[in-house]
C-alpha cells in the first residue's frame, strides 16, 4: 500500500552523509509508490539539500539556523516538529547514527508510534515490509513486522543500498529556525575529532588492538598501519579496561559493532562479547602470539606471531606496494 514517508537526511559539516541516501533508498521501498519528503537540518545545508533533490521525491525541506550547527536532541526536535505536523507521515526513516538514534525515539514518542531500530535489511513480502535487525549485538538477528502506522525506522549505516534513482527535480524549501528563548539544553563546546580518526562504524577497514598491544604506546604501530590503509583504529574491551586506549574505540557487545570490508585483529584473543561486535566483517585477519586464541576460529587468515614484528613489516610492505601501484 502506498505510504507517505518522511526521511530525516543527515549531513555533516554541510555535506550529505552516505547514510542519508541509504535511508532514502529504504524510504523508496517502504513508500511503495507513495510520497517521499526529505528534511535536512543544520546550520548551512542548502547544498546538501540540493544534492539530495537530485534524487526523485516530492519535496526536500532544508531547515537552517545557527543553533543547529551542532546536533542536539532538543533543538533538532524543535526544528523538526512543524514538519511532522505538516507532513503527517505514515513512516519516518533516519540513519541509526549517533544523532539518528538519539532523535528517533523522541519522534516515536511524539507520534505514539512503534519504532524498528538499527535495521540492516528490509524486504517486501506479500505487500508487507519485513525488517531485519541484529539482537545481542549480532549474535542473532530478528525479523520484525510493524502492525500499525505511523511508525519510525532507523537504518544502520553501510548496510542498505543507497538510493540510485536520478533525475529528481523536487523544489528545495529553505526554512529558518530561530532558537526559542526557553530551551533546556545547549551545546556549549565541541572538540572536533583528530584528523587521523576515521569513524569506526563507517570505515572500510578497521585495525583493532587487544591486550596483546600491551600499552598505549603499543597502539602506535596499529595507527601507522591504519594510516596506510585509510582505516579506523578500534580496540577490545581488555585493551580499554587496561587503559591502553579510550573507551570510544571499544568494539564488542558493549561498545561499537562494526562491519567493515576488512577487520585486522592484533593481539586480540577473541572473547565472545568482542566477536559479537566484529564477526560480521567481510574479511577477518588475526595476528596473535597464541595459536590457541579463539579469534583464529573465525578469522579468514590467521598469523601466529608477534604483532610488534608483523604489523610494522606489513605497514612497510603496503607502503611499497601502494607506491609501486601509483608509479
Amino acid at each position: 500500500m502506498p505510504k507517505k514517508v518522511l526521511v530525516i537526511a543527515e549531513q555533516r559539516d554541510g555535506k550529505l552523509r552516505q547514510v542519508a541516501l541509504e535511508a532514502l533508498g529504504a524510504a523508496r521501498t517502504i513508500a511503495d509508490g507513495g510520497s517521499i519528503v526529505s528534511v535536512v537540518i543544520g546550520n548551512q545545508v542548502k547544498d546538501a539539500a540540493s544534492e539530495l533533490a537530485q534524487h526523485p521525491q516530492d519535496k526536500v525541506i532544508a531547515i537552517e539556523g545557527a543553533s543547529l550547527a551542532n546536533y542536539d536532541s532538543e533543538h533538532y526536535y524543535l526544528a523538526l516538529g512543524p514538519v511532522l505536523d505538516e507532513v503527517q507521515p505514515d513512516v519516518v526513516v533516519l540513519g541509526h547514527t549517533a544523532s539518528g538514534r538519539d532523535l528517533a525515539p523522541k519522534i516515536s514518542a511524539a507520534l505514539d508510534a512503534p519504532q524498528v531500530s538499527d535495521v540492516v535489511s528490509l524486504e517486501v513480502q506479500g505487500g508487507e515490509v519485513l525488517f531485519k535487525r541484529p539482537i545481542y549485538a549480532g549474535k542473532a538477528f530478528e525479523t520484525k513486522r510493524v502492525l500499525s502506522t505511523p511508525y519510525v525506522v532507523t537504518v544502520r549505516p553501510n548496510n542498505l543500498a543507497p538510493d540510485a534513482e536520478q533525475g529528481g527535480s523536487a523544489e528545495v524549501d529553505v526554512r529558518a529556525f530561530d532558537e526559542p528563548a526557553d530551551v533546556k539544553t545547549r551545546v556549549v563546546d565541541v572538540q572536533k575529532k583528530a584528523s587521523t580518526g576515521r569513524d569506526l562504524t563507517e570505515a572500510r577497514v578497521v585495525v583493532s588492538g587487544g591486550r596483546g598491544v600491551k600499552s598505549a604506546d603499543g597502539f602506535k604501530p596499529l595507527y601507522e598501519l591504519a594510516d596506510v590503509l585509510d582505516a579506523a583504529v578500534g580496540a577490545s574491551r581488555a585493551a580499554c579496561d587496561a587503559g591502553y586506549c579510550d573507551y570510544s574505540l571499544q568494539i564488542g557487545q558493549t561498545g561499537k559493532v562494526v562491519t567493515p570490508d576488512v577487520y585486522i585483529a592484533c593481539g586480540i584473543s577473541g572473547a565472545i562479547q568482542h566477536l559479537a561486535g566484529m564477526s560480521q566483517s567481510k574479511l577477518i585477519i588475526a595476528i596473535n602470539k597464541d595459536a590457541e586464541a579463539p579469534i583464529f576460529e573465525i578469522a579468514d587468515y590467521g598469523v601466529v606471531g608477534d604483532l610488534f614484528e608483523i604489523v610494522p613489516k606489513l605497514t612497510e610492505k603496503l607502503r611499497e606496494k601502494m607506491a609501486a601501484a601509483r608509479a
Binding site: 546536533y71 542536539d72 536532541s73 532538543e74 549517533a98 538514534r101 538519539d102 525515539p105 523522541k106 516515536s108 514518542a109 508510534a113 512503534p114 519504532q115 531500530s117 538499527d118 539482537i135 545481542y136 549485538a137 542473532a140 538477528f141 525479523t143 520484525k144 513486522r145 510493524v146 533546556k184 539544553t185 545547549r186 551545546v187 556549549v188 563546546d189 572538540q191 575529532k193 577497514v205 590503509l229 570510544s248 571499544q250 564488542g252 557487545q253 558493549t254 561498545g255 576488512v262 562479547q273 564477526s279 577477518i284 583464529f296 573465525i298 578469522a299 587468515y301 590467521g302 598469523v303 601466529v304 608477534d306 608483523i310 613489516k313 606489513l314 612497510e316 610492505k317 603496503l318 606496494k321
Partner: protein, 252 residues
C-alpha cells in the same frame, strides 16, 4: 536530590545465543544488569555519596528481575520498583509503563543506559523523557550536577561535545562514565531489607489495549557460522608479505 535509574536485566555478554524451536533459549543463562544500566546505577550512587541523594531503581520485567534490582540495592540504591509485565516486548509499551509510574513522582535526575546489549533498540529511556517533557543528553561519558544545571560530555561521530541541561533531565550512560563497584557482602545482606515494590500494569492504571504491541517479531535467526580460515606461515617477513598481498587484493 532524587535520582531515578531505569534498568534492565540482560544475558551476560559472554553468553552464546542458542535457539530452541525458533526461540532464544533462556535456561541456564547467567543474568546481569545491562552493562550500560550498571554505569547509570553507579553514577546515581556516586551522586548520592558526593551530593546527597535518594536513589530509586526501576525495571520492567518478571519475577527473576528482582535479582538485578537487589544487586542495584546492594551497590547502594535505596529503593527498587519492579513493574511486573513480562508480556511487554514493544519498547513503546515498556516506555508507557514507566511513564505511568513516573508521571506523578518528583525527581531531579533520571539515569539509564545508552542502550541494552540484548535488543539494542535504544528507545525506552528517551521515549520516557520525551513523554514526561524532560530534556535529555544521551551517551554521556562525564556528568556534573550543579544545582539545577547539569553538564554532560558525549562523543558524537568522533567529536566530543559538552552539553548543558536544566534539571529535571534524562542522561543515558556510555562506557567510560565510571567503573561500577562490586557490592560487598555486608551490603548484599543489607540490600535484602531495602524496599522492593512490585507493581502490575493494572496498579499503574494501564489497560491491555494501551500497551498492546505495535511491532511483532516474525523470526529469529543465527548468523552463518564463520569457519576458521587459512593459517599464514613462514618467517615474519614472509607472513607480512602474504598479508600485504591479501590486503591489496581485498581492497582493490
Amino acid at each position: 536530590m532524587h535520582v531515578v535509574v531505569l534498568m534492565k536485566q540482560t544475558f551476560d555478554t559472554e553468553e552464546r545465543i542458542r535457539l530452541v524451536d525458533g526461540k532464544i533459549a533462556e535456561d541456564g543463562v547467567k543474568w546481569i544488569i545491562n552493562p550500560y544500566d550498571e554505569y547509570a546505577v553507579e553514577e546515581a550512587i556516586q551522586l548520592k555519596e558526593n551530593q546527597g541523594a535518594t536513589v530509586t531503581v526501576v525495571s520492567v520485567g518478571n519475577e527473576n528481575t528482582t535479582q538485578a534490582l537487589r544487586t542495584a540495592l546492594a551497590m547502594g540504591a535505596d529503593e527498587a520498583v519492579l513493574i511486573e509485565a513480562p508480556e511487554l516486548t514493544d519498547e513503546r509499551a515498556i516506555a508507557k509503563a514507566i511513564v505511568a509510574y513516573l508521571k506523578d513522582k518528583s525527581f531531579d535526575v533520571l539515569l539509564a543506559g545508552n542502550f541494552s546489549v540484548d535488543n539494542g533498540a535504544g528507545q525506552v529511556a528517551i521515549r520516557v523523557a520525551h513523554a514526561l517533557g524532560l530534556p535529555h543528553i544521551a551517551a554521556v561519558t562525564k556528568l556534573t550536577i550543579d544545582g539545577n544545571q547539569a553538564t554532560g560530555v558525549r562523543e558524537i561521530d568522533g567529536d566530543v561535545q559538552t552539553v548543558t541541561a536544566t534539571l529535571p533531565a534524562l542522561f543515558t550512560a556510555q562506557q567510560g562514565l565510571n567503573e561500577p563497584r562490586y557490592p560487598s557482602l555486608p551490603n548484599i545482606m543489607k540490600a535484602k531489607k531495602k524496599p522492593l515494590t512490585t507493581l502490575t500494569l493494572s496498579d499503574l492504571g494501564l489497560s491491555s489495549d494501551e500497551v498492546a504491541a505495535k511491532v511483532e517479531r516474525v523470526e529469529v535467526t543465527l548468523p552463518p557460522k564463520r569457519q576458521a580460515g587459512q593459517k599464514i606461515t613462514g618467517t615474519p617477513d614472509e607472513q607480512a608479505e602474504q598479508l600485504a598481498e591479501i590486503l591489496v587484493k581485498a581492497l582493490r
